[in-house]
């Protein structure tokens, strides 16, 4: 267990459907090694997003256990899980999810402030420079292109130097060129920070760069490399 920073044991997830319980995930057992890059792929509706939601402690499984750094997060309530995430977990989303009312700088400052970082502004500025947006600090999300928005999101995700970064289709809303830049950025920062990266993607190029690949179908892991 100690080899894994994140581990799922016998995880099932069911939701209430119109005609009774609907199984989204079934018998999931997996471990994520520290500093590794893992991709979860599969067709739409196979349960990819649900799985990273559970691994990140955003939701609870119907059955089974999930451990983060040896702590059973499935035994914690929602607020305890939130506190555990602060400063240790980062996210990058397909829709970027930048706060519209905040500038690029303020968006990156946000998780740093939540993690009570003393020099949030300075760190955020450095991270934005690192992702190539040093000239766009005070731009609002609407004033940025999709690729730029995702770079802000990546800076935000890495800003707290998390142990694990979850990325849900990070290139899904981008054109080929922007996607390629984001891919490069993501893996270079992951290597630099020795962060465990958990990716959900349809992008084969992105998947090929991960050491570990899982394929989900109908809520089960059908392939592991």
């Amino acid at each position: 267990m100690s080899d894994f920073i994140l581990q799922a044991v016998g995880v099932d997830r069911e939701v209430e459907g119109p005609s009774g319980p609907l199984t989204i995930l079934q018998d999931i057992d997996l471990g994520i090694a520290a500093g590794s890059a893992t991709v979860i792929s599969g067709p739409s509706g196979s349960g990819k997003s649900t799985l990273i939601g559970l691994l990140a402690g955003l939701d609870l499984p119907t059955r089974g256990q999930i451990f983060f750094r040896g702590n059973e997060i499935t035994a914690l309530d929602e607020d305890q899980r939130a506190r555990l995430r602060a400063g240790q977990v980062g996210f990058v989303f397909q829709s970027f999810y930048l706060m519209e009312s905040l500038t690029a700088l303020e968006n990156v400052m946000l998780p740093l402030e939540l993690a009570a970082a003393a020099d949030a502004r300075l760190q955020a500025r450095q991270w934005l420079c690192e992702v190539g947006l040093g000239q766009r600090l005070h731009h609002y999300p609407r004033q940025l292109s999709g690729g730029e928005q995702q770079r802000v999101a990546i800076a935000r995700g890495f800003a707290v130097e998390p142990a694990v970064l979850f990325a849900d289709e990070p290139t899904g809303n981008l054109d080929r060129e922007a996607a390629s830049q984001i891919k490069e950025l993501l893996f270079s920062l992951q290597a630099e920070q020795n962060t465990s990266l958990v990716l959900v993607t349809h992008d084969l190029g992105l998947a090929e760069q991960c050491q570990r690949r899982l394929r989900l179908e109908n809520g089960r892991i059908v392939e592991q490399h």
């Binding site: 955003l58 939130a82 977990v89 996210f91 999810y97 009312s101």
Partner: protein
Amino acid sequence: MRIGTGHALRQLRREWRSGELVALALSLLVAVGAVTAVSAHGERIERSLMRGAGEIIAADLKVSGRQPIPDNWLARANTAGLASAEVATFPSVIFRDGITQLIAVKGVSSGYPLRGELTIRSADPGPASDVNWGPTAGEAWVETRLLSVLGLELGNQLELGSAQFTVSAVIAYEPDKGESFVSLAPRVMVRLGDLKKSGLLGPASRAQYALLVAGTELAVERFRQGIAPLLGLDYRIIDLKEAQLQVGSTLQRAQNFIGLAALGAILLAGIAIAVSAGRYAARQRTNVALLRCFGADRAAVLGLHVRVLLLLALLVGSIGVALGYGVESVIAQIARQVLTGELGSTGWRSAATSLGLGVVLLLGFSVPALATLNTVTPIQVLQRGAVTAAARWRHLYYVLPVAALALLALAQSTDIKIVTYVLGGSIAGLLAMMGLSAVLLRALKAISRGVGVSWRFGLARLFRHTLSSSLQIASISLGLTIILLLTLVRAQLFAAWQTRLPANAPNYFLANIQPHEQAGVDELFTQAGVSATYVPMAVGRLVSINGQIPDPAQYPDARASSRIEGNLNFSWAENLPSGNSLEAGTWWGEGPRHGQVSLARSWAEPLGVHIGDQLGFQVGAQELQATISSIRSVTWDSFEPNFFILFPPGAFPLTPRTLLTAIHLDEPQEVLLADLARGFPTVNIIDIGAILAQVRRIIDIVSLGLNLVFGFTVAAGALVLVATLSATRDARVYEAAVLKALGCDRRRLLASLNTEFLVMGALAGTVAAVAAALIGRILATRVFYIDYTPNLLLLLVSVSAAVLLVWLASRAGMRKVLATPPALVLKEA
């Protein structure tokens, strides 16, 4: 995990920049502005009234007695830094050319009057001038009617005792003349020093001596405390509060109405805040889910938003306070030009209170919406449709706005009845309006089958979510109801006041008319076309309460002592007199009625007596035990003769009685008083014109105050409308984008939107008209005791106004709905 105040401040700045907080801020601005303006105006009225009351006694405090004022009291007043003057009044008789005339002599020292001014004319007829001094040595100032009775002219000599005076001016107005109804006969005012030399101020003069003092509130209070133990039985203190008694009931009713009107603005602002907070919370959901992802717990998220609002409340509240004072001072400037007399100043007492109430209002009305943010789960950032956790006891959050409103209501009006009506009425009213809106929507749905496609889309939006549509319609209706009510009841109330205090309201009381004189007095006035109704009056004392001799020391209410120790005027009546209404018990009917008594509530309260208690009265040699059979409320400000204590006819068959009447005399008719004084010298003529003028002045000030409140109410009503329509704008923009993508052209889209707003306005107008008519009737009959018949025109006006207002308010949002490209909206969704 804690999110610091610095972060809250940054968040406030960011949200403000994004425009998300504008609606909340405007609502708060209006509410705090209204509360500040109303309470500042209340302070001003209070101070103005105190000044007016000061005029009634021509001082801030008066020590009055049957013995001359000891010299050291005057010295004490001067040491305390108070201005002082001495007055002595007594009835006397003068003879001139064979005519005998009863006069009311008043000797005044220099400095009189300390408050208010005398209006005199140095030529008769001639121009009047206001002066703040009395006659100089050797001068006599007299009332006009004395000149006509005695055939005197200005410049003639008048003999009073052994002293000679030159009649140098006519007194047109004497500030403290109406006080305590002792102005028996025409006034002759001279210097007190001259009077002392005249030999008239002997022990047999029946003179009433008074020391008048005026100065700062603190100095006056210190003087009162110092002098109180020295008064004994010979002297008593008359202060502003006592002088205010006559104007009190009018002021109380006026303040109730202003409080009610202000509550309307506050309630509307509260609804606008609730609606805006709902939209703010809805827009914060994704951000909250993100914050939860980044590790913020629920308390931290709620704490962050509460702090953002708290900061907003303090910032915007401060601007609201400044706005309130600004608007109030503009109204006061107008008042100074319109009203005669000095209008009081306002203080800063209202500022802190209003700011505090602003915080309570903003938090109270927005917490239910903010609490829904606690139901946001972090998984919603990955799965948009993820089920929201239901907050336990979430309905309990609605106790907060109700509690906030109750607190605000109590701060505005101490009248529990008004507070109950407004609070209960608004909550029940909102629910009833939602019910009525839902019923009307269902009825409309049933009859609208087969209408065209634009109408169908327009109506579908209203029908789809009956609950939220009903809430929207009810919110608009509530705003409109309050505005209608305010215009309606306001007009009715002032009409009723005008009726109650018509131009021919009595301006003289005639007291001490002997029964054998009634026919003669009546003939005198009937010939001049003046009608009068005579009520009997007798004097007695209260000697026991439930068999026990009452001890004033045992009653906490200071008013009890005058009821126990003083002489009581009472009367008897077959029927409940006009201006009286029964509050408890029953009026005597046909059966045995001996041994019953009816009391005015304000008289009974200090003694703590109720229906069924036994009171013992001593009247002459006769003692009567009577059971309290009814408690009345009395409209004192009608200036009709009214009594605290009423018995059934025949209760005191052997008691000597006199008659009392109230008459109105126009200025030319005042010469009748001379005939009355000549023919019936023992009749007391009491001039109540000064008190009437005071009451009218208060009504004038109050009506200006209402205009001020009305402005804020209209602004708050408009905010409710804008906030309600904004709350659903995002959904409308999205639906319009889908329709446009499916091929709906602009014309049909516009028609469908217009249908929605037309129907919404018509329904809101109908509901508001029904509610305003009902509430108006309840308020009119139960609170203000006036007649009110709902006008059918109200429905037409209400519906037209609602449709127009909703349509106008929808224009700004409509442009966005029509102009936003569908691709942009659908991409964002």
